[in-house]
Amino acid sequence: MSTTLKRVHGYLAEFDSVKDLYHAAEHVRDAGYKRWDTHTPFPVHGMDGAMGLSRSKLPWLVFFGGITGTTTAFLLEYITQAVIYRTIVQAKPATIMSLPAWFPVMFELTILFSAFTTLFGLLAIIGLPRWNHPLFTSKRFGKFSDDGLFVCIEARDPKFSQEGTKTFLEGIGAKNIELVEDDI
């Protein structure tokens, strides 16, 4: 007899069509749930609006990442070329007046830092990398990368209740509602 302790992750509900899923998402949004997500094998246009997602914070991270790149390159070049080791090339002044020569590096580092901030900022925001996810304990969830359309409302949502959320999901036309439990 197994006595393994389990933790409820949330309800996983399946929908038959993208249209059903889209409208279900609108219902979940309007019901006031915050900790939930949809899983589809392909992007669904307008789903961010249906889910009521606000704009990503990522552009702000990238903006400051880019500015950091510009500044880094400028300081790198100014300090080395005009302060520490003044290098005179083709009779060009080794001062701030040689700024045009530094632009290519400033430009490249802006892009490099922006690209890195985009990638690593995205990974940080979506919580990757991680070893596992509780949803993988569901046998049916594997269909999300083939033909399954899912809504998952997590137990950590303040509005979550074992009975109420299940009734709610049934009410919006969900099929195969499953309580996902994860080993602790």
Binding site: H45, G46, G49, R55, P59, F63, Q90, P100, A101, F103, P104
Partner: protein
């Protein structure tokens, strides 16, 4: 979430017809500006033709870049098989159709008395041609130019460039540019007008094919028009990035103008259902793209010339980076790139009509300043009147009003001939309900 799906039945049969009566204020204002401009320019033409030449070149060339930009956006839209812009494409087509009236406005540039002040190389060529006719005996313009090099070594470059830079070929090219722009605007517009009669997909395919074919002649047109009319002001100066530089500003400014035209038409009650804030966002993104592209090209051109430090190349920047022109140079760096770059970064600002219109006005203004800074610094030195001629800017303003008032008047007068958007285009609904 304010979006609701528009279906074909919601749109008026036959599209929307623009009535001049609804825009009478705008049309009469433009006519007034054009009329005053033409009168003022006529006065300058007869009283000070030397200064007039530069004013007129400036005004017509700015208009040329904007009209060519209109053609470019049609070509790009069709060639890239895009769907989003079907509801605004007709407005670009009408902008491209201004190529022929613009050609008429450019005719003063064909007068030798105007050319003599603008393009010094033509004077040498004409002197050489006259000398050749006088000598007879098999002497040609080229052979005389070659002999003139002995007394004036600067002319060596003219005899070397003779294959391209000769007066006959210059005239041929002049008409070639307008023929190309006029033909592409007419042909592509005609395909979509025919589609409104039979609703056939084949016109969309034909427009796509023609657009791909026309891209190359278009690139030649914008590049060599810039070389002939503006780079030619100083025959010893050259920059291989020049054509791209002009092209970048051209596409940039015509997109800004289109944002203003669309907003104006919406403000008097047109395009309400078919142009949404999503279109503003898309057009704003393209405006942003060309802000960056222009800066990239403008800096690259400056950078290469600054670094190489070859006297015949640096002369161009020297006269623009000294005296009062330096103020304009710095204004262009800040106003042509940094300000629009920062303003156009955020999505909500691109979707805010008032904001994007303010940016578009600024963009147009900066485009004018950019070309003014490209053309006018040659005036003082070329006419032997010092760095700049006091009061000559008045002639620039008159010429500008003449060209833009006239073309704007023609634009709105001809806008009502057809629907404002291609109402039977197979991608119409894709464009109306576009999300991005």
């Amino acid at each position: 979430m304010s979006h609701h799906h528009v279906s074909f039945k919601d749109l008026p049969e036959g599209g929307e017809k623009f009535e001049v009566a609804k825009a009478s204020k705008m049309v009469s204002t433009l006519a007034g500006i054009g009329g005053i401009g033409l009168l003022g320019s006529a006065y300058f033409f007869f009283s000070d033709i030397a200064s007039f030449s530069y004013s007129w070149l400036f005004a017509t060339f700015v208009a040329f870049t904007i009209v060519a930009g209109g053609c470019f956006w049609i070509l790009l839209h069709n060639a890239s098989n895009s769907g989003w812009g079907v509801t605004v494409r007709r407005l670009f087509e009408n902008l491209g159709m201004l190529a022929l009236p613009l050609c008429v406005l450019c005719l003063p540039l064909l007068i030798p008395d105007v050319q003599t002040h603008l393009w010094e190389w033509m004077n040498h060529h004409r002197a050489a041609a006259a000398e050749a006719a006088h000598l007879g005996n098999g002497a040609t313009t080229l052979s005389v130019l070659h002999h003139m090099t002995v007394a004036n070594p600067h002319l060596h470059v003219l005899s070397e460039k003779y294959g391209y830079l000769n007066i006959t070929f210059w005239y041929v090219r002049f008409f070639f540019y307008f023929a190309i722009l006029g033909f592409m605007a007419w042909k592509l517009r005609k395909e979509f007008l025919d589609q409104e009669k039979d609703g056939s997909m084949k016109h969309t395919v034909a427009a796509r094919q023609w657009s791909c074919v026309m891209l190359f002649p278009f690139a030649l047109t914008i590049t060599f028009a810039a070389v002939d009319w503006v780079m030619g002001l100083d025959y010893s100066w050259f920059s291989t990035m020049w054509g791209v530089y002009i092209f970048a500003g051209s596409a940039w400014s015509s997109m800004a103008l289109m944002l203003l035209i669309v907003s104006y038409l919406k403000s008097i009650g047109y395009l309400q259902q078919v142009v949404t804030d999503e279109h503003y966002h898309l057009m704003g993104k393209l405006l942003f793209t060309f802000t960056v592209f222009w800066a990239y090209i403008a800096f690259s051109q400056y950078f290469l010339i600054w670094y190489a430090n070859i006297p015949e190349e640096t002369r161009w920047y020297l006269i623009r980076n000294t005296g009062n022109w330096q103020v304009v140079s710095i204004l262009i760096v800040l106003g042509h790139f940094i300000a629009p770059f920062v303003l156009l970064l955020s999505q909500p600002r691109k979707k805010n009509v008032k904001m994007i219109c303010a940016v578009a006005i600024w963009v147009l203004l900066m485009h004018f300043v950019d070309l003014w800074w490209n053309i006018i610094p040659e005036r003082g030195p070329s006419l032997g009147k010092g760095v700049s001629i006091p009061g000559a800017w008045i002639g620039d303003v008159f010429a500008f009003c003449a060209v833009f008032g006239t073309l704007g008047f023609i634009y709105f007068r001809t806008l009502g001939k057809n629907s404002l958007y291609a109402w039977r285009d197979p991608r119409l609904m894709e464009s109306v309900n576009v999300r991005n």
